[in-house]
């Protein structure tokens, strides 16, 4: 019994869940998933998660996909009084709003990473970078209104968004125009739970830098 997470470390939404689990002090078993090897397309996996995605949480009879639904579930179930996901409707709404904004960040990231990983298409990958930077600029504007992503203290919104923004940094994307984002990133990196992000983001950063450099060289 206990919690099981089906995931792979490089994946930003998976890291969002790892960070949240660590912040809540929750133990879990990690089941490594290799999407390229087809692990999410087996009949057993599809039975648990027809969306064939990671992360997937198993908690007794409950199978839950969607990283941000997993994170809010973990607080609601195991730490309902936690500041990470305040109970007050207005405060909670702001966290939820930033969590859904984070979906856009992740999608934009995937538009850069997927063409590289699956098609070796550097042109399409590079063409997708401005859209991500645009969203990071919007996050900069959001941070003009509050110290953290969704108010004056750390919430699930910070823990989710940092998985994506730290990835942009590790990929070597240009964050020179977003000083508030950089300062926020430095603050979140100081949190003990951030440790759960480090291995995966480093891995993904290296993969992207090596892959993209090689493909750009070939294209010349």
């Amino acid at each position: 019994m206990g919690l099981t997470v089906f995931a792979f470390e490089a994946s930003p939404p998976c890291r969002g869940v790892f960070i949240t689990l660590k912040a809540l002090g929750l133990e879990y078993e990690l089941k490594q998933i290799d999407t390229k090897a087809g692990d999410t397309r087996t009949p057993e996996y599809l039975e648990k998660n027809p969306q064939h995605t990671v992360p997937l949480l198993e908690d007794g009879d409950l199978y839950l996909a969607e990283s941000r639904a997993i994170s809010t579930y973990l607080v609601n179930k195991y730490a309902p009084d936690s500041d990470l996901y305040p109970k007050d409707p207005e405060a909670r709404a702001l966290v939820d709003s930033r969590l859904f904004f984070d979906v856009g960040l992740n999608t934009a990231l995937l538009h850069i990473l997927k063409p590289l990983k699956y098609d070796g298409d550097i042109a399409r990958s590079d063409a997708a970078i401005p859209a991500l930077l645009d969203l990071i600029n919007i996050f900069e504007a959001m941070l003009a209104k509050s110290e953290y992503a969704a108010g004056d203290h750390v919430t699930l919104a910070d823990l989710a968004i940092v998985a994506n923004v730290s990835t942009a940094e590790a990929m070597g994307l240009d964050l020179s125009g977003v000083p508030k984002v950089r300062a926020w990133l430095d603050k979140i990196k100081q949190l003990p739970c951030y440790e759960a992000n480090v291995q995966g983001v480093t891995q993904l950063g290296v993969m992207y830098k090596e892959g993209s450099t090689a493909l750009r060289a070939k294209a010349q």
């Binding site: 969306q51 309902p80 709404a93 702001l94 709003s97 859904f100 979906v103 919007i138 504007a141």
Partner: protein
């Protein structure tokens, strides 16, 4: 005073918010946003929502973007005991999970709408159509496991998905023999929900524009 929703009729995420507000009997003021004129990028709008998207909600001092966050806020604030958004953590999580699925569904609908209505790009339409079909296949699977989108009862997940799927149907893209469960679920909600009418104009407007655009592209 009261709740202000800034949006447009065609947009499915806007209509999801209207459906939820009507479902809980909440009075709100609809503020039409002239997106063609760039109203969503005006300084006033950006102050409310730096992401310059619709729907945007204002309730007193609280300004909120993201339709799903608006929906769950309205439930938590104005109808906290409603079964449309259950309190039990596991049941709520199942609804949240489907709300996230619906975001992906909407993304794939945008992938059709943009090439058809704005870019007039047949290639792009053909490239993106399989993603929409895949999401419909998933929804068909979900509806094979339970009566409604997130379980046996109607929840806000159904209302969000309804705004999207009704648009797909109005665009002529919801083939009944491919997706019989979705078609049956859609018919049931369209006839049984007393407040469904708030979705009709926008779904038809956008759906018919897409249908026409697809025909013009020769797809």
């Amino acid at each position: 005073m009261g709740v202000d929703i800034f949006g447009v009729q065609g947009s499915p995420p806007c209509r999801a918010v209207y459906l939820v507000a009507k479902a809980i009997g909440l009075d709100y003021t609809f503020n039409k946003v002239d997106m063609q004129a760039g109203q969503h990028r005006s300084p006033e709008f950006l102050k409310m929502n730096p992401a310059h998207t619709v729907p945007t909600m204002k309730d007193g001092d609280l300004c909120l973007g993201e339709s799903k966050a608006i929906i769950t806020y309205l439930m938590n604030k104005y109808a906290p005991e409603s079964e449309l958004y259950p309190k039990d953590p596991a049941e709520r999580a199942k609804v949240d999970q489907r709300l996230h699925f619906d975001s992906g569904l909407f993304s794939s609908i945008r992938g059709i709408v943009f090439p058809v209505l704005f870019n007039k790009n047949l290639e792009e339409f053909k490239k993106n159509k399989p993603k929409l079909d895949e999401n419909l296949d998933l929804l068909e699977t979900f509806l094979g496991r339970s009566q409604n989108v997130a379980g046996e009862k109607v929840t806000v997940a159904d209302l969000a998905v309804l705004a999207n799927v009704s648009t797909v149907q109005a665009a002529g893209l919801l083939e009944k023999d491919k997706w019989p469960r979705i078609s049956a679920w859609l018919t049931r909600l369209q006839t049984q929900l007393p407040y469904y009418s708030v979705n009709v104009e926008g779904a038809n407007m956008l759906g018919e524009a897409v249908k026409k655009g697809i025909a013009e592209l020769g797809a």
